[in-house]
């Protein structure tokens, strides 16, 4: 068992840099990682059904996140995710995505 755990630990150590290397984002990775899964690290959605967030108006993003959280807007994926966020985090995310399009 010790050998298996040792091999697993070595693998994690070797490849840990892969997940960190891609985290060259100007925002808390812990926060943004929930959004990246669907809206992409650059705010460009990988499919036709989900919206791009890059360059979106800051206030619009905040209002929509609040609407999801309060149930005024309903989406089966977004509604539960928005409940993880407080107002400061919403603002940080909105700042990040609204500035992406300007870079």
């Amino acid at each position: 068992m010790k050998k298996v755990i040792f091999i697993f630990a070595v693998c994690i150590f070797l490849f840990r840099n892969l997940s960190i290397a891609q985290s060259n984002l100007d925002v808390d990775l812990n926060l943004i990682s929930s959004c990246v899964a669907c809206h992409g690290p650059n705010g460009i959605s990988p499919n036709e059904d989900w919206p791009n967030l890059a360059g979106q108006k800051k206030n619009y993003i905040i209002i929509q996140l609040k609407n999801f959280k309060q149930g005024q807007r309903v989406n089966i994926l977004m509604s539960p995710i928005s409940k993880m966020l407080n107002e400061n985090q919403m603002e940080d995310l909105a700042n990040y995505y609204s500035n992406l399009g300007l870079k």
Binding site: S19, L29, N47, K83
Partner: protein
């Protein structure tokens, strides 16, 4: 051990050469605060055909959009290469685990009720008829209600940690493997974003679904599952109870947890830890399906109480590549705790394309009962396996 080292070194080299972008595998529920499986699946139990939202999520790291046809039709193919320590005395080789087609159509304009039919037309032919039911949702999607949906038909057991890995001991000992289905009525509810429950009343335990078995009307069972997700972790418990006039009562319970360490600190711990402890009575006959080496040993413990443990760590190296460590432990007879089955597994899961993934595992098995010296059963043997799954 040298063999394991070679495999690991090859895997490491392979990753360095081919993997560049990222994706996560399973365990989305806790990571993305989804208490209900219906965020992605039609069935409240999870597994089976995916909704459009689930198909979108599945492909989200790839530039593609599901076809409109995929709103109504799903297909799934699972190929397996299984190389155990003793391939001459145990199941081994290349095979198709499953090849299923599913249709899922709304029954009303409001799209709150669905007919789902999933038929396994290829593979190992266990449970040819799979998720096949009429589902009625009392409320709209993403609304939290005590009485959310009712499902009538065949469905996966809402018991423990849902897994598509058929060698998970906690699934074997409780009769809730990926190809074990129940027939009956399932009621589910999600009163708020932190609690979900399932309650099922079933008849004819785990039959194949293609005909009525003799004496089946005398069999009935009930399954209750509840889980709470207060924060970055999920806690759940399941109970099952089966009664028949013809044979012994069987029952099982499970306590499980899913801990999303990524929600705490994604940068340091992009991982999910899953834990499950289960006890059961009356399911040990499953050990005779190629699992244990000696049928006589299994016969002697048919009505024994078993204890099992699952520990699994999924570490997201990238969003498309996950390293997996899995530990299974089983005591088939709790009166003789010295007789155990134990398995350490190390491997990976790699999402190759929007609808395809590869999974590899190298496992070290151990069994202490004297009858396992021959190591002809699957549970006691070291083994390597590769799975290729494609879904549409």
């Amino acid at each position: 051990m040298l063999h394991i080292k070679r495999i690991c070194m090859s895997a490491l080299l392979f990753i360095h050469i081919f993997i560049s972008t990222t994706y996560a595998t399973q365990d989305y529920a806790v990571r993305y605060n989804q208490i209900s499986c219906t965020s992605c699946h039609y069935s409240p139990v999870g597994g089976g055909p995916l909704k459009r939202s689930g198909k979108l999520f599945q492909t989200s790291q790839f530039q593609t959009t599901p076809l409109d046809l995929q709103n109504y039709i799903s297909a799934n193919l699972i190929g397996l290469a299984y190389i155990p320590e003793n391939p001459k005395t145990s199941k081994s080789g290349l095979g198709l685990m499953a090849g299923s087609l599913a249709a899922h159509v709304p029954l009303t304009d409001r799209k709150n009720s669905f007919l789902v039919i999933e038929n396994n037309i290829a593979g190992f032919a266990l449970a040819p008829l799979r998720d096949t039911y009429v589902l009625y949702n009392f409320y709209k999607e993403a609304e939290y209600k005590w009485f959310e949906s009712i499902l009538i038909g065949r469905f996966r057991s809402p018991f423990g940690l849902v897994s598509n890995e058929h060698r998970t001991y906690t699934r074997i000992q409780t009769g809730t493997r990926w190809f074990d289905f129940e027939t009956g009525v399932l009621m589910s509810g999600t009163p708020n974003s932190k609690i979900h429950y399932d309650l099922a009343v079933v008849n004819g335990k785990n039959f194949s679904g293609e005909g009525l078995n003799t004496g089946q009307a005398n069999e009935w069972g009930s399954i209750f599952n509840i889980r709470i997700m207060p924060s970055f972790f999920l806690l759940g418990s399941s109970l099952s109870y089966y009664r028949t006039e013809l044979s012994e009562i069987s029952h099982a319970w499970s306590m499980y947890s899913v801990i999303s360490m990524a929600r705490l600190n994604y940068k340091l711990f992009p991982a999910t830890l899953k834990l499950e402890y289960a006890e059961s009575k009356g399911f040990n006959s499953i050990l005779n399906q190629g699992n244990a080496s000696d049928p006589n040993y299994v016969t002697s413990i048919l009505t024994s109480r078993s204890q099992g443990l699952l520990v699994r760590l999924d570490w997201w190296i990238t969003n498309k590549f996950t390293l997996i460590y899995k530990y299974d432990w089983l005591t088939p007879d709790s009166d003789y705790p010295i007789d155990i089955y134990e398995r350490h597994g190390l491997g990976f899961r790699w999402n190759v394309s929007p609808y395809t993934y590869l999974s590899f595992r190298s496992e070290i098995g151990r069994a202490t009962h004297p009858s396992e010296k021959s190591k002809s059963g699957q549970l006691a043997q070291n083994a390597n396996f590769l799975i290729l799954e494609a879904s549409f």
